[in-house]
Symmetry: C2
Subunit: 287 residues, 2 copies
């Protein structure tokens, strides 16, 4: 409604509420300019915030960007970054409505995304009930496999490296899940086990996952062979694909984008059938 | 309506629109931890964003904070920072509704503030018309004088040093100016001359300021004597007090919080009566 160039922008919030989420991304910690182009970084920085908005069941409307960068950052790189922001927002009908730039020794990107619930109740993390099914939409473990390849100096299979550079959140599935009656939902940014641990804790319930329900693609298998890794581990613990995980009452007929991977149980914590919680570092195994 | 702890927060936007603004603050560039406490930094980071919201004529509703900080940052410092955010928000009835924290070698603070126009049109920078009066509310030059004192190793007059550490934007004046019929408004963050230059440019008009209209307090005079500086210079060019500057039709009767300091003219750029634009670095003197 009023874009960049004033003290603040004005964005539509048609139902009298606005969904808001923010993330801070740091060079070296969240991205590397030698591994990702400015365009990829813009796409990814926008994607991870837009995914948080749809995970509430809302439609993204706009983002604002705070950008710190070194004085010698090329204008081309900055244009690429802005193009990445714009193109990712275009996927969901949102716009870059404002920003702030400053000099900094490293590239720092703060993104805040806004969304509109269209009259729906927000889908939080706390509504999962024993008996609900647990389902995921979008890719799991691809970005983690891609990052592991880059860390090993490899760039093949390229599809996985691309998945690290540019996540593809299943945006449309978020608002649709709200309409279908999802009882809880979040975007998988820190790994499915850890993130479902938040749902379990907030809902006062447990989650039991079926390892056979997870898809391992030929690319994932190839990467796992190359690196001596377990592809299921990437799917369960890898972050940054920004898949959606949600719980639904058993009777809901789920569209093809959703894969049922487990169920909500009495109790607490997240269990994977047939696996012992061998890695003590996972918070979600603590009761 | 829904606070921290989920993928995103939900904030009221009662009239179907939301005002949004963001700023990125960096240690060493925007604040120093040896000059300002965590509490002061939180107050100031919130203030500068809340001031942008009221400068649109809106009432602030909430802020989200992205925070990067070194691993050795004390918990006490972080608590102080959060207290500062909360107390500054309390001044305007807003809340801290969400955030994101990450490790970083320096302290990085990204703040995004939201606001509600309550059915009013946003007051932009582009509506100033020749014949309007130019008025300011809040302090001018105090923060700049305080910073100059700190840079000279002084901490007296303490009121000015405090003004640098903790601005006091005249929050209530923003929405009230919109109701009074302000034709343009902004918050003075980069210095009055420079910021009014944005109004002049966006409005296709000029601004003529009366140097005699500016208040120079005894503290400012004392600091100027100590540092061999010109207090009027601080008032005209100093940033970070987050005063409000607005233009109003001549017939508007202004409340006491506003001081008329000039008028909108035909032409372009910002002039100060009796002063030649001796410092070439000021963008706003270019036609």
């Amino acid at each position: 409604m009023l874009g960049p160039g004033d003290d603040a922008a004005v964005v539509s919030a048609s139902d009298g509420r606005v969904v808001v989420t923010t993330d801070l991304l740091l060079e070296g910690r969240h991205f590397r300019r030698d591994w990702s182009s400015g365009y990829d970084i813009g796409r990814k920085a926008a994607a991870q915030n837009l995914a948080d908005v749809v995970a509430m069941g809302a439609d993204p409307t706009g983002i604002v960007v705070g950008l710190g960068m070194p004085a010698d950052t090329g204008a081309g790189w900055l244009d690429d970054l802005a193009d990445g922001f714009r193109d990712e927002c275009d996927l969901v009908g949102a716009s870059v409505v404002g920003g702030d730039t400053t000099r900094c020794d490293l590239v720092v990107i703060g993104v805040t995304a806004l969304g509109d619930l269209g009259g729906r109740a927000p889908v939080t993390r706390s509504g999962a009930r024993p008996g609900d099914v647990v389902a995921v939409a979008g890719r799991l473990g691809h970005a983690a496999a891609g990052l592991a390849l880059l860390q090993a100096g490899l760039d093949d299979p390229g599809g996985l490296v691309d998945a690290h550079r540019r996540p593809r959140p299943p945006y449309a599935c978020g608002p649709r899940a709200a309409i279908l009656g999802a009882t809880s939902m979040l975007d998988v940014s820190d790994g499915l086990l850890q993130d479902l641990g938040h749902v379990a804790k907030a809902s006062g319930a447990g989650v039991l996952l079926d390892p056979a329900a997870f898809t391992v693609t030929p690319e994932m298998e190839k990467a796992a062979r190359l690196l001596g890794a377990d592809p299921l581990e990437w799917a369960l613990s890898g972050g940054e694909d920004h898949a959606l995980a949600a719980t639904f009452p058993r009777e809901v007929r789920l569209p093809a984008e959703w894969t049922v991977v487990g169920r909500v149980t009495e109790g607490a914590g997240v269990q994977v059938r047939g696996r012992t919680p061998e890695r003590g570092g996972w918070d979600h195994f603590r009761e």
